[in-house]
Amino acid sequence: MNSDRSPVVLENVSVHYGALQALRNISVAFPAGAVGLLGPNGAGKSTLIKALLGLLRPDAGVLRVLGRDVSADPLSVRARVGYMPESDTHIPGMNAVSFVAYCGELCGLPHTDAMQRAHEVLFYVGLGEARYRNVETYSTGMKQRIKLAQALVHDPDLLLLDEPTNGMDPKGRDEMLALIRDVADPHRERTSGRAPISVILSSHVLPDVEFACEYVVVLHKGAVATDGPIAALKGDSTRVFEVRVKGDEARFVEALREIGIESHDESGEVMRVFVPVDRPVQLLFKVAAQQGVQVRHFRPSVPSLEDVFARALGD
């Protein structure tokens, strides 16, 4: 990937919280478009986002956002970045229009433009009818939408979304993901002629990321476990099978690993086995027979982002 054109580039970035190392010498380039930032709790996703905003100063390394060094000029970076925090947040005592317009003004929009833009983005995120209601009276789903509206009001070039579908019902979640896809859509004609908005979507809900993004960066224990286009990571170099065995499952898994076949236990009963395309599937049954286990369930499956995630984390 050409890191010169990447909206976000990290070079040997480390961040500590006291004795805890939250990010360990990370070097990665996020391409333009929608990128999923994946990782289990405590992997360093939120820390990375806060460092990209300049809210946390890295102990080592360089963060470049939209071509600017975050440590050297955090205000310029924040002027071009929209941030949707994970936690419930608002400015007390304001209705939705005032709140979003206020956020626009804080980002440098003139008062009239900010008010006009606030109406526009509130309609865009589906809060047009509720825009004169006090934000404190909003439901969880509406609060998520208004957080997106305040992140969009100043028309950023990069959107950082931290768990944007948290607490949303299935319909709301689908609508939120559709909005994210729309914002990052590289094909839609832009009247201004500017480049489309890049999105970094931090989430632990893998289907959300799979739906909205084309590229993922997986963090684990503060380091990049894997990154790349989702399609490539899911790959066509392996076939996936759902397998359930009766007998010594651990011995079976170990025997598979010895001959280069990966597997991971998904539900405690059914495991997913990844057989390289150049190996015969019959090998599974041969190994099962050698280890004295019975194959009780065998079904072909398709590679998913969960497989990528699990393999990256080494589960």
């Binding site: 809210l55 925090p85 206020y102 440098g108 929009l109």
Partner: protein, 279 residues
Amino acid sequence: MPIHDQGYRRYAGGRTSRGRAWLVIARAGIAARVRERRFLALMLVAWLLFLVRAVQLYVGTTIVRASFFAASEETFHGFLNQQRLFVFFITIYAGAGLIANDRQANALQLYLSKPITRHDYIAGKLATLAAFLFSVTWVPAMLLLALQVLFSGSLEFVSTHPRLVPAITITALLQIGVASMTMLALSSLSRSRRFAAMLYALVAIFTGAVGGVLQTATGHAGWMLLSPQNTLAVLTDALFGLSPESDIPVAIALLGIVALLGLCAIVLERRVRAVDVVA
């Protein structure tokens, strides 16, 4: 099916130059307060003393030319001293929630994820409170001075009392600065507006009482420095050229105020952060 389905549109307008975020914050804070009738009532009551003093000046200059009614430094010093009560109430009303409410609503990370600095944020909040305090201290005091000139029909009073304008200005600034910074620092310590208000009341009222008791018990006047109000009184007496009510040297009182403001600045520096790091 919608007739017109509007997708995301980019903003094509201009942007203002940086450095005015504090003004946006202050304007929003002031607007939020003046929408409250109770607060407006408090502000109106705070101007009642101005009316009384204005009548006094009018009577003193036009009707009864008696020394009792005549304007002097003491008139303005007394007025600003009396306004301390309203400074107290307005500070609690308009200041207690300034940062505490934002902390409760997790708004700090929202503010600081925008292109503004922590100093912009603090300056905006400070300006919100200071604007109200300014309008009940310096503004009425200077208006009284203007009325005195108007009623007497000459600038003689101002020219014979050259220290009056700087004394009023510095006294008002000290009152506003101490009240605003203290309230803001206390507001940053809590997520509860009420708790911040109680802390301020404790600082404003009980430090004076404790200082008085300790002074009586030990015989050391220095204990009065515990109270910001008493310390301020030493400075304002000196500014208006009046005989001090306390034995505390002016330089020590000034140091006390500087130390208090420094302490407040340190508290704000530590508490106003987008990310709370618990190491």
